[in-house]
Symmetry: C2
Subunit: 483 residues, 2 copies
């Protein structure tokens, strides 16, 4: 993706609106928030991801001559505006929650503070990137949680929605906790472990399964994982694998890592039978890897039935987040700067949940001091300041009678949004993906186990400061009074 | 996508297997088939798409120095093999069904006849590309069918699974019948109509809705579509739009195309009320566009309730194929060439439906002569020859007692697979996307309406020639006798 110019990766209306602002001499500083309304996949949280690609995209924003030429050919943009585009680059500020952080609905994952023309152009690409990677990172974290410590490998490239979905999806899956990917390009680009052994076609290219296994073991003496379901798992596959393992043992060439992979059939039954056969032949340290249409629910259910599976390869349902293939991130105008002040703006809706939070905002994460677990998030105005030596009253912004009172020094605070671009200059260095993965694992440890449950999890509260709540209420009242 | 080197866009095991073939001096010509087992989204057919990108990918297959360096760093590939990769290019043949064709389960959409090392490497990328675009083209064709002639616009970039999913997805959506896309990059790359007007942020950037509408109408006097749901659709949005339309009419500046867009709320109710308000004000030719979480089922249901919607913008649920976000295309070895003969190979499974069709094959589509509608598809060996002046007996390959007898000259035949690469040279020129779209519309006309029904459609039969059926049966018997 890095090498492509993605400047035109935007919705057409961003450009028609930009021209509108241009022709009306409107280029106020505005604030746009990226946030989402519901956690994907019935999850109690999401993992935000994609920031590194957003940074690359913003850094490389330039309309090339052929882009201008193309826009001119549409006969809707005038020359003054096209001239402006020729010299376009991003001059604003961007704040974001670091990749791999656990996040919750309604809070800004990313905030753009920039001249409106610039802020408008970048809406679509930012949403595209953040929505995609946050979705897959969240899904992966659920699959990894279900696997209860057994390694999960990302195997989905062939079913991903295009090359980027495979490559950036694998990146996000590793952030969410996968140990590596089968996708070689992604492994190269993001320095991830490249994983995999062989396919059915390897077996079928030989006259018989046993020869195929022997040849494979000869070639890869360090890690010999044999795929046993090309013909018949228990009648030929596992017996042939055991035959080869015995030959290796007899010749003193036992591989350091070895085992079998199951790719079809009832994985609980087959893994138990295979485990028994391997153990009886003395191969108690042979691993059993399973793949075949897995997701967090299937893995949880197989483990509940005591399936003997040491390692999981997860493809389609992870790389597409099959049961919930979109992350509903939106990008909403929340303030316009007039003079030194940010004037709050709000989008209304008949659905209370869909009314946006106005103003230039920041987020505090509140941790219980003793346990280090997340208590709640608090969205405040950007110039409010909270410290943990004071009492803190939290209240639900919709059901306002629901209140929690935190005593001084029983909690700690952390600001979630960090500066990424200031005056158009990138001030942030992305960690490596494997570093983000480690950070993300620690982040998930700050959640109560009840929030990580795969179905009907407990929800973490995201509250508004009293000041912010008041501004929102006033704007609502003002609007309805004006009707 | 075109500018990226996708040579490493492959599963790691393709490379370990390649090295296995290399070290064993195995480089026989083999046949691999791309096919799928079930139509996506409960559809009675699929639309195949992605061939142009497969061609680009195969043409550009080259391991660059840094790719070789990367593979060397993994310490699993030896120098002889890395040297071989340095000079690697595709030398084989590829046959495929042209993009935009209606296709059915179990038939090869694409066939690779090439030395096994080459055929193995390209598995993953071919599946990734074909699976993605065929999925979205199929989904789009369903949405367009539901819209019953009203135009459908692709609006999903912000929720697509990464940049390619948005850009190639828009390409596929147009093949499936969308009139254009909001995605400017895709519109530029594939010469598609770029569509869209303005967002809520346009309205919110002004002090009031009326001013925002006026300014927009001034700027875009040829096509003035106003988004009316930022504050309150019927109380402010539609009345303000009508006010602006009246001002335009009074000043003799009525736009050629004008209307409103609804983006939330109950679209049946709101569109009927808005239509009434517009008509009463004399704006009977104002169009009503709807967007907001649409798919084929919602559109069908809104039309059944007589919603007054002239044009549809479809986003998330089309660009992700939300209810079925993967297309299950697989790539299976079906034959190995020994001397002049193709020796059939078959993957077994306990599930009869999952047993592959062996041999080097081709496909005839059989049309009813009078109606031009598709009667069935017939998979045969590549060297079988059928003509329509002979009687033809079709039988179901699983329920073999189900037979259909076609009289001579009551049907016509068409071979579906056409040569794309011969001896590594591309012999095919892709039509433009808009040409493929026209072809695809004609293709869908060859289906009986019963096959296009959105739920529980009639299925088209895909049968095997007697010769092919016999080979499959013999291989099965032979294998089970050997156990």
């Amino acid at each position: 993706m890095g090498k492509q110019n993605l400047t035109l990766l935007t919705d057409f209306y961003e450009l028609t609106m930009m021209q509108g602002y241009f022709n009306n001499n409107m280029n106020e500083i505005v604030v746009f928030d990226v946030f989402y309304r519901d956690n994907p996949c019935n999850s109690g949280y999401a993992i935000c991801a994609g920031l590194e690609q957003v940074i690359e995209y913003v850094k490389n924003l330039r309309f090339k001559d052929d882009d201008i030429e193309y826009l001119r050919s549409l006969k809707i943009f005038d020359e003054n505006f096209l001239n402006y585009l020729k010299n376009f680059h991003f001059t604003g500020d961007i704040y974001a929650i670091p990749e791999g952080t656990v996040v919750f609905p309604m809070e800004p994952l990313l905030k753009v503070v920039a001249p409106i023309m610039e802020a408008q152009l970048i809406e679509t690409a930012i949403l595209n990137i953040i929505n995609h990677q946050s979705l897959i990172a969240t899904k992966a974290s659920r699959v990894v949680y279900a696997a209860s410590g057994a390694p999960v490998m990302e195997f989905g490239l062939r079913r991903a929605q295009g090359p980027d979905a495979g490559t950036l999806g694998a990146r996000a899956a590793v952030i969410g906790g996968c140990i590596g990917t089968s996708n070689v390009l992604s492994a190269k680009l993001y320095d991830l472990p490249a994983l995999g052994t062989h396919a059915h076609s390897w077996i079928m290219s030989f006259d018989d399964e046993l020869t195929a296994f022997r040849k494979y073991a000869e070639l890869y003496p360090l890690n010999t994982t044999l795929l046993v379901d090309t013909y018949d798992t228990l009648r030929t596959g596992v017996p042939n694998a055991i035959k080869v393992f015995k030959e290796l043992r007899d010749s003193g060439k036992m591989p350091e890592k070895y085992g079998i992979r199951l790719d079809s059939g009832d994985l609980a039954y087959l893994s138990k039978m295979a485990r028994k056969m391997l153990d009886e032949a003395g191969f108690t340290d042979a691993t059993i890897t399973a793949s075949s249409d897995l997701d967090e629910y299937v893995i949880e259910s197989l483990i509940a039935q005591d399936a003997k599976i040491d390692s999981w390869g997860v493809g389609t349902k992870l790389i597409t987040s099959k049961d919930c293939p979109s992350f509903g991130g939106v990008y909403k105008l929340s303030a316009i700067k007039k003079g030194d002040k940010f004037i709050p703006r709000m989008k209304l809706s008949e659905n209370q949940w869909k009314i946006t939070n106005p103003g230039n905002k920041k987020i505090y994460r509140i941790y219980e001091k003793d346990s280090g677990k997340v208590k709640a998030d608090l969205i405040t105005l950007h110039d409010e300041h909270f410290t943990s030596d004071k009492p803190l009253l939290l209240f639900d912004p919709i059901a306002t009678w629901k209140k929690t009172y935190l005593k001084p020094n029983t909690y700690t605070l952390r600001e979630l949004l960090v500066p990424i671009f200031i005056n158009g200059k990138c001030v942030y260095t992305s960690p490596s993906v494997m570093e983000i993965r480690d950070y993300c694992a620690k982040e998930q440890d700050t959640l109560w186990d009840e929030c990580r449950r795969l179905t009907n999890p407990h929800n973490v509260y995201v509250d508004l400061s009293s000041k912010l709540y008041q501004i929102k209420t006033d704007l609502l009242n003002e609007y309805y009074a004006s009707l």
